[in-house]
Symmetry: C2
C-alpha cells in the first residue's frame, strides 16, 4: 500500500498552518502534499519537513489524484470545492460547518465515534471547536452513565475567529493600555478587557449559530437526537484555548471520584483536578497541547444525579486541526485494516 | 430630624472609594463623615464635597456618636469591629461576607427584599457582588413566575479582588505583551490573556467559597431555602464588571418577550436585548454605571419552562458600594417614615 497523496485547502490560515505542523509532528505518512488557499496567497512559500512548498489557488483541477483533502477554510469554500475533490476521487476532511449536519456526512471525533466513518460518501466533517472541547469530557462520562441534560457556558478564545482574531485582540489590548479607543473588525465589539456574549451570527430564538452548533453537533455525535442541551457561547480576551463550564444530569448517581477515574482512562483527555494545589485546567496552559484538560469535577447542586466540571482545550489543535488529522489517520488505519482483511 | 453621622471603614480601598463617590453623587444627607482604614493609611487625605477629610485608623472608639457605619474592608475587620460600632449605637452596613449568613443579620438588596431590613439587630449585610448581579435579573422574574432551578456561570472581573486586582491585571498584560513571564500575587495564576476557574478559596465538595455564597445568599435573599442552584465562578481578564450566563427553570412557561417586559419595569435594571443590532450587555459598557444590564433573553433548551439570559453589572458599584449606600438610604427613609407615623 502506498502512502496517501494529501492536500490542504486553506493552508495559510490559522487552522491550516496548525494542520501542517501536526502532519509534521505526527510523521503522518505522505506520498505528496499540496497546499491550496485563496488567490491572494498564490505563490506563498511554506516550509514542511525541511522543504519549501508553494501555495496555489484552490481550484477543482488541483484535487486530481489526491487521496485526502483537508479543508481548513471557510464554509463557502467547502461548500463550493469539497464536492469537486470528491468527484476526483479524494476523501474530504472538512473543518467548516458546511456539511456537518448533512445526514450523509459523518461528523466524527475519532476517540468518540470512529465507526461513523464507515458510512462516509466522500466528505467527513470535523466538529466545531467548542463541541469538541465539550464532548471529549462528556462522551466518556456518557458511556459510563448516560447523560440526560447538559448546560454549558463557554469562554472562547480570539483564535476561534482565525489568526486575524489574535492580531485584533493584541492590537486592541495595546491600544487600550495607551488609552486609545480600540478598533474592531473581526469581532462585533472590542474584545480587549471585555467579554462578548456573541460568537458567530444570531439565528432564530435569540441563539447564535455557535450555540446551535453545540446542540446539534452534540446530538449527532452522541447519537442522542433529543438530548436537552443549552449553551451560551462567549468570547473572552484570550488568544488560544476554549474553556467551558459544564453542568450535566446523569441517569444514575456518579461521584466526582468515579468521574475522574472514567476520564483518566479516556484517550486524549488529561484530568487536572487537585484544587488543594490550585491545579485545574487553564486556557494559558492548554494552548499548544493536544489533550483536552478536565477538572473542577464536583456534584452539581441543581441537577438530579448531577455533575459539574470545567473543560479546556486548544481550539486550533484538538478543536480543529488535530481532530481533522486524527480523522485522516483513522481513515488510513481502517483502509489498511480492510486491505489486510480483503 | 437631623441628618445621620456616617463613617466608612476601608475608605481607601476600591469599594470604600466607590462609596465615597456615590455618597457625593447621590447627595446622601450627612451631618458628619468620618473615614477609617488600616493603620498604614493613617493621615491620608481624601477629598469629599470640596473638603479634605483625613483618614484615621479604624478603632472601636472612633465609632462613638456614629449613626451609620459602612464597612468596606475585609471580613476580618468586619468580624472584629462591626459589633464595636453596634455597641456604640451605630447601624452597620457591611459589604464583607463576615455576617451575611448569620440568621440575625438581614442580607439585603433594596430593590428586592427591603422589608428584611426591619428585623435588623444592628448589622445589615450587603450581598456578594456576583449574587447581586444575578439577583437583580432573577428576582423580578421570580416574582412573576417562581423559579425552580438556577444554573449560573460567571465571568468576574479583576476588581472583584479589590483595586490591587486591576493593578495586577494591567501589569501582567503589559508583561505578556513584552513576552515577559507575568507575575501574580493577588490571583492564584496569571490572569492576563487567561481564564481562571477559581475565585476566593476552595471549600468542601470541590466548590469555591464564591460559588457557595451565590447558592446560600440567593436562597436567603429570595426566601427559598431549598432552591437548587449551581454556580461556576470564573475570573476573566476584565478590569471592572461581572458578567453571568444564567439558565433557569420557571414554574410556568414564560416567553422571552414576557421576561423583557417584567425586567424593563424592574428598578435598577436596564434591558439591552436587540441582537439584530448586536445590542446586549457588555462588561466594558457596564463599568461605571449604576444599573444591572440584562439581555440575550431566550428560551432555555435544556430546562422545562426554561429561560436563559446574560446579566452584567459593575461589581464595585451595584455589586458593592452602591448597594450598601442604597441600604443606608432605605434605612433613613424607613426611620423617617416611622418618625412621621410615631
Amino acid at each position: 500500500m502506498t502512502d496517501p497523496r494529501v492536500a490542504i485547502v486553506g493552508a495559510t490560515g490559522a487552522v491550516g498552518g496548525e494542520e501542517l505542523r501536526i502532519l509534521e509532528e505526527r510523521c503522518f505518512p505522505l506520498e505528496e502534499l499540496h497546499l491550496f488557499a485563496s488567490a491572494q496567497s498564490e505563490g506563498v512559500q511554506v516550509s514542511f519537513r525541511g522543504r519549501n512548498l508553494t501555495v496555489h489557488e484552490a481550484k477543482p483541477d488541483g484535487f486530481a489524484g489526491m487521496d485526502i483533502v483537508f479543508f481548513a477554510a471557510g464554509g463557502g469554500t467547502s461548500k463550493a470545492l469539497a464536492p469537486e475533490a470528491v468527484k476526483r476521487g479524494a476523501i474530504v476532511v472538512d473543518k467548516s460547518a458546511a456539511w456537518r449536519m448533512d445526514p450523509s456526512v459523518p461528523l466524527v471525533i475519532p476517540e468518540i465515534n470512529p465507526d461513523d466513518l464507515d458510512a462516509h460518501q466522500g466528505i467527513i466533517s470535523s466538529p466545531n471547536c467548542s463541541t469538541i472541547v465539550l464532548l471529549m469530557a462528556l462522551a466518556p462520562l456518557h458511556h459510563a452513565n448516560p447523560i440526560r441534560r447538559v448546560i454549558v457556558d463557554t469562554y472562547q478564545s480570539a483564535s476561534g475567529a482565525g489568526g486575524k482574531g489574535i492580531v485584533e485582540l493584541i492590537q486592541q489590548t495595546r491600544d487600550a493600555l495607551e488609552a486609545k479607543e480600540p478598533q474592531h473588525t473581526t469581532f462585533p465589539h472590542p474584545l480587549a478587557f471585555n467579554v462578548v456574549p456573541h460568537v458567530e451570527d444570531f439565528a432564530d430564538d435569540g441563539y447564535t449559530t455557535e450555540e446551535i452548533k453545540m446542540l446539534n453537533e452534540t446530538r449527532k455525535i452522541l447519537h442522542l437526537p433529543d438530548l436537552p442541551l443549552s449553551a451560551t457561547c462567549v468570547r473572552v480576551p484570550v488568544p488560544i484555548s476554549h474553556s467551558e463550564a459544564v453542568h450535566m444530569e446523569m441517569t444514575y448517581p456518579m461521584t466526582p471520584q468515579e468521574a475522574r477515574e472514567v476520564l483518566s482512562k479516556a484517550p486524549g483527555v488529561t484530568v487536572q483536578d487537585d484544587v488543594a494545589h490550585k491545579h485545574y485546567p487553564l486556557a494559558r496552559d492548554a494552548a499548544g497541547k493536544d489533550d483536552i484538560f478536565v477538572g473542577r469535577i464536583r456534584p452539581d447542586m441543581a441537577m438530579d444525579n448531577g455533575l459539574a466540571l470545567w473543560t479546556v482545550g486548544d481550539n486550533l489543535r484538538k478543536g480543529a486541526a488535530l481532530n481533522a488529522v486524527q480523522i485522516a489517520e483513522e481513515l488510513v488505519r481502517r483502509k489498511a485494516l480492510l486491505q489486510q482483511r480483503g
